[in-house]
């Protein structure tokens, strides 16, 4: 479904990603691991079109999307749930969800999609007219994921969904992730939490200083001694 070939990308002429190749099949849940500054967020921002690649190609469902704008990619179904959630604080929960479904492909089905999202997160239903800025961190993460689903994602990229959440909420969010995966959604999970990701992802890539250091099934990665060293940035 997604093929990243020899991607080089960065900011202001400085390469953050060097020759990264990643593949995802439809329906897979894949983890993207790595220490701080390994390039995880840069990679998904390049997938979202927020960072222009210097070279390399990105194919989505067989189509070259390397030069498409962020809007065009969202319309194709490449949707990011950003790190830190970035909900619109002074808009109600309902308006946040409506904005999630603002792209041309998702817009006609917005009310139906909204019901599905509210069934998934009953908590949001209770807070529909409340400003998103007044929600707890966990609720904001639910809203951010719900907003991403409103966009009718085919590939959902979650950037640090466990960040700053209580263990209870982390479990809740990852149960939701498992459920979305079971329903057939393709998921790219970017996490610093090593054990959590290995438990939920089928395969993992470990990024180290902008390059793929290790890749493979989660249980193999888990026992690979290089994982720990890459992870600690040693």
């Amino acid at each position: 479904m997604l093929e990243i070939e020899n991607l080089v990308a960065g900011y202001g002429g400085v390469e953050v990603l060097r020759d990264v190749s990643v593949k995802l099949s439809a329906g897979e849940i894949v983890g993207l691991l790595g220490a701080n500054n390994a390039g995880k967020t840069t990679l998904i921002n390049a997938l979202s079109g927020m960072v222009a690649p210097m070279s390399g190609r990105i194919l989505f469902e067989g189509r070259d999307v390397t030069r498409l704008t962020p809007r065009q990619r969202v319309e194709l179904g490449i949707v990011q749930v950003p790190e830190g959630r970035l909900v619109f604080p002074e808009m109600s929960v309902r308006e946040n969800l409506q904005l999630g479904g603002i792209n041309a492909r998702a817009k006609p089905n917005r009310s139906r999609q909204m019901e599905a999202v509210l069934d998934l997160f009953p908590r949001l239903k209770e807070r529909l007219s409340q400003d998103a800025g007044t929600l707890s961190g966990g609720e904001q993460q639910m809203l951010a994921i719900g907003r991403g689903l409103m966009a009718e994602a085919k590939l959902l990229m979650l950037d640090e969904p466990s960040l700053g959440l209580s263990p209870l909420f982390v479990k809740y969010i990852f149960d939701i992730v498992d459920r979305l995966h079971a329903e057939g959604l393709t998921i790219l999970l970017v996490e610093q939490n090593l054990m959590l990701t290995l438990r939920h992802a089928e395969r993992c890539y470990v990024l180290e200083r902008g390059q793929v250091a290790i890749e493979g099934p989660s249980d193999v990665i888990k026992d690979d001694p290089r994982t720990r060293s890459a992870y600690l940035g040693l």
Binding site: S48, M50, T69, P70, R71, V74, E75, V79, Q80, P82, L86, V87, F88, P89, E90, M91, E95, Q98, L99, G100, I102, N103, K107, R147, A151
Partner: protein, 288 residues
């Protein structure tokens, strides 16, 4: 007492239009962080376009506005696309300089075409009066009030309950997240600027009847607009309309109770006093 009521009424009527002017500036700032110092000169341009249409075709400003709005919106789109947008993200002062430069270009352009003599654009309603008890209102002011509030309410509803309005607010609250939702941030910025300039073209026609105009007046309107947005809060819709009324009323009190030159100082004096005692502006909450 009748003078007092007269001042209040006059101030409210004109102040509503000042509020409208400031909404245009606030919207642009909200989506792009740009403070447009050529704001007043676009108003000026709108007025002189009405004058030109009167000279050429004897059109009343209230008719000309249907021509000046689209013309100015196209001009605004071009200015934003080719001058302002390339500067977004650069230092704030560079954008200030750019828009100040634009102000001088507009001002001198108008001077070149129309000359420096004060000019007037007649309208059929120009000298009509409306008498309510002891208060005498000029009909153009009443029209300005009605249209300004109708537009302000329209804008408010647009921001609250349309997808375009929600995109504007989303870009204001978090441009990065808005882009990730598939909102075309650049397009929202251009359209918002064009919308703001269209509003200015309407305000120009509303302020025109009975007002002598000259090419150098732009800065005065820019400053009045700045006073209003600072009082109301750059992106605070209700605060801005309230700020417009405060400035309008102080101006009216100044001209009715004091001499002409001293009266013109009133809005600035009131502004300084409010800023001294309520530096956070007129309304309680800092945003929204």
């Amino acid at each position: 007492m009748s003078e007092f009521l007269q001042a209040i009424a006059q101030g409210v009527l004109i102040g509503s239009t000042y509020g409208l002017l400031a909404l245009g500036m606030g919207l642009l700032y909200g989506v792009s962080g740009v403070v447009n110092f050529s704001h007043g000169d676009f108003i000026s341009l709108g007025m002189f376009l009405c004058l030109a249409l009167y000279s050429a075709l004897s059109l009343d400003p209230y008719v000309s506005v249907f021509i000046t709005v689209p013309v100015m919106m196209v001009l605004g789109t071009l200015v934003f696309r080719f001058l302002i947008r390339p500067m977004i993200g650069h230092q704030f002062l560079m954008i200030v300089q750019l828009t100040l430069g634009l102000s001088l270009v507009l001002q001198n352009g108008i001077l070149m075409v129309f000359g420096g003599q004060p000019a007037r654009t007649p309208s059929v309603v120009e000298s009509k009066l409306m008498i309510l008890g002891e208060v005498v209102l000029r009909v153009p002011h009443v029209i300005a009030f009605g249209v300004s509030f109708a537009l302000a309410i329209g804008l408010f509803i647009m921001l609250r309950s349309t997808d375009f309005g929600r995109s504007i607010r989303a870009v204001h609250q978090n441009a990065h997240a808005a882009a990730l939702m598939g909102v075309d941030v650049g397009r929202v910025q251009v359209l918002t600027f064009a919308l703001g300039i269209g509003i200015l073209a309407i305000a120009a026609a509303l302020l025109l009847p009975g007002t002598p105009i000259q090419p150098t007046q732009g800065l005065r309107y820019t400053i009045i607009t700045l006073l209003v947005v600072v009082l109301g809060g750059m992106t605070n819709f209700v605060g801005i309309m309230l700020g417009g009324l405060v400035i309008g009323i102080s101006e009216a009190f100044g001209t009715i109770y004091l001499s002409n030159t001293l009266g013109a100082l009133m809005p600035y004096v009131i502004f300084v006093l409010i800023m001294l005692f309520r530096p956070q502006g007129l309304t309680w909450s800092s945003s929204r």
